[in-house]
Symmetry: C2
Subunit: 302 residues, 2 copies
Amino acid sequence: MKRFLTVAAALGLAACATAPAAPVATAPKTTAEILAASPAADWRTLDLPATLVMTLAGGRTVVIELNTTFAPKTAANILTLARQQYFDGLAVLRVQDNFVTQWGDPDGETDHPKPLGAAAARIPAEFSRDRAAGPFVKLPDGDGFAPEVGFVGGFPVARDRNAAWLTHCYAMVGAGRNNDPDSGPGSELYVVIGHSPRQLDRNITLVGRVVQGMEHLAALPRGTGPLGFYEQPAQRTAIESLRIASELPSGGAAGRLEALSTTSATFTALIEARRNRRDDWYKVPAGHIDLCSVPLPVRAKP
Amino acid sequence: MKRFLTVAAALGLAACATAPAAPVATAPKTTAEILAASPAADWRTLDLPATLVMTLAGGRTVVIELNTTFAPKTAANILTLARQQYFDGLAVLRVQDNFVTQWGDPDGETDHPKPLGAAAARIPAEFSRDRAAGPFVKLPDGDGFAPEVGFVGGFPVARDRNAAWLTHCYAMVGAGRNNDPDSGPGSELYVVIGHSPRQLDRNITLVGRVVQGMEHLAALPRGTGPLGFYEQPAQRTAIESLRIASELPSGGAAGRLEALSTTSATFTALIEARRNRRDDWYKVPAGHIDLCSVPLPVRAKP
């Protein structure tokens, strides 16, 4: 009597480390089979000097890979903050259902905010950049928000004739800002926890992606105040520490992970398998996939 | 220092009851302003004989409006189950991050499943229906999964030349099934809690939408077993009761709600305001909206 939505479940791979599936004799066709058949060379280690390991109260670990290609100044500022242990003792301030979880300084709006030290209080907006951002792996399907979409260096990207920009898919991390475009120095960060709010693209600086531990940010109690802010300090989840992976022994939790290269043949095969599901459960393959439904697999190193 | 993503936050309206905002003197342009300026006639009561009030452990209330236009047989079977108090004492069995929360009979796979009583164990698939499903309010923007998308009777709908079907947006509720198309009688239900898994459209019967209490289903701890199933019975969230709203005094929690009519001028204005955000925060209006980003406002009756 138990009903599974069997194969669709593999969607959950997008932001989770996954155990390798058993090898199969037939040609790979499902996500698990394709990943199991992938050569080791199709996987890459994380960019540890630009990867954050955040530990929430209770020891819950979140790994965030920053993107120094699309948001070099914001990423550098966040790394400066992390090096100063700025985030240690701060907290998750806001969880708005079907939108974002946001963390930073609870005293940020008071007259005694936590000092930013050597980090800048203002960083120029990095909402988009020129198209020469690296090898662009174009998704075969169209997108209503941009002329073309695809992947650069493991991140979802949209482009028009002049520019390229990161997109607000599930698990993407951005730097909260006020009305001024340069008011988001990375001291307050948010992550997408619901349906992709693509209208934010090119309006705020995206700076990274949660590659492990999304469940610790997505399953937090929703705030009941305006915009999902918690109304009582006791409702907040404390940040025990936030460290740069390369400064932890063996990279900490981040050192044990590897990500599927988005320029690999395995990734191309994965996209095609997700566009047209070929298993007994699916009756009407979509023949299409949207940018934010493409999984970006991360797994424990074999 | 606190950074808000100010206006984008109104997205959270989609599945939450909202307090009316204060009237404004200027022409309405934001979601809150448009809703505040809406005439009472643009709102409808819920279809109480087809609305479920589910109470989870701890008194958390979830209101689900079923869709008897697109899934009449499945909805009727669920109502039969509810009338028999079938769901009382069952539990949330599965929470898979960025995918679904699913509830039903923990003993469903054993040799002693809870009897379905007068309800059927098999229901013909209701994956799509003919186009004559009611007034179709077409979204001006395209969609990669279907020739046209829009709304019928408060629900997101896609159409091609012959058929119309409900779509897997956040908060949509479906009837889990096994490989056989008729194996989803509604005794095990799921709700979308992440980025819209549109590839499921036309592959499984969608039967309703959570109109209040999504946060109680979306913020549950993720299951650590395969497909996000809980590995220990103690991890499950119990269902205290599931009742038909029209059989509760004044409709229970559902009787206090009203939904914005998707055929109203207010809804049309809302779509346009979301396609092109007109406030100080947004710098690059998208000029586009995707089906699952359109809010379907529900509020407490004034």
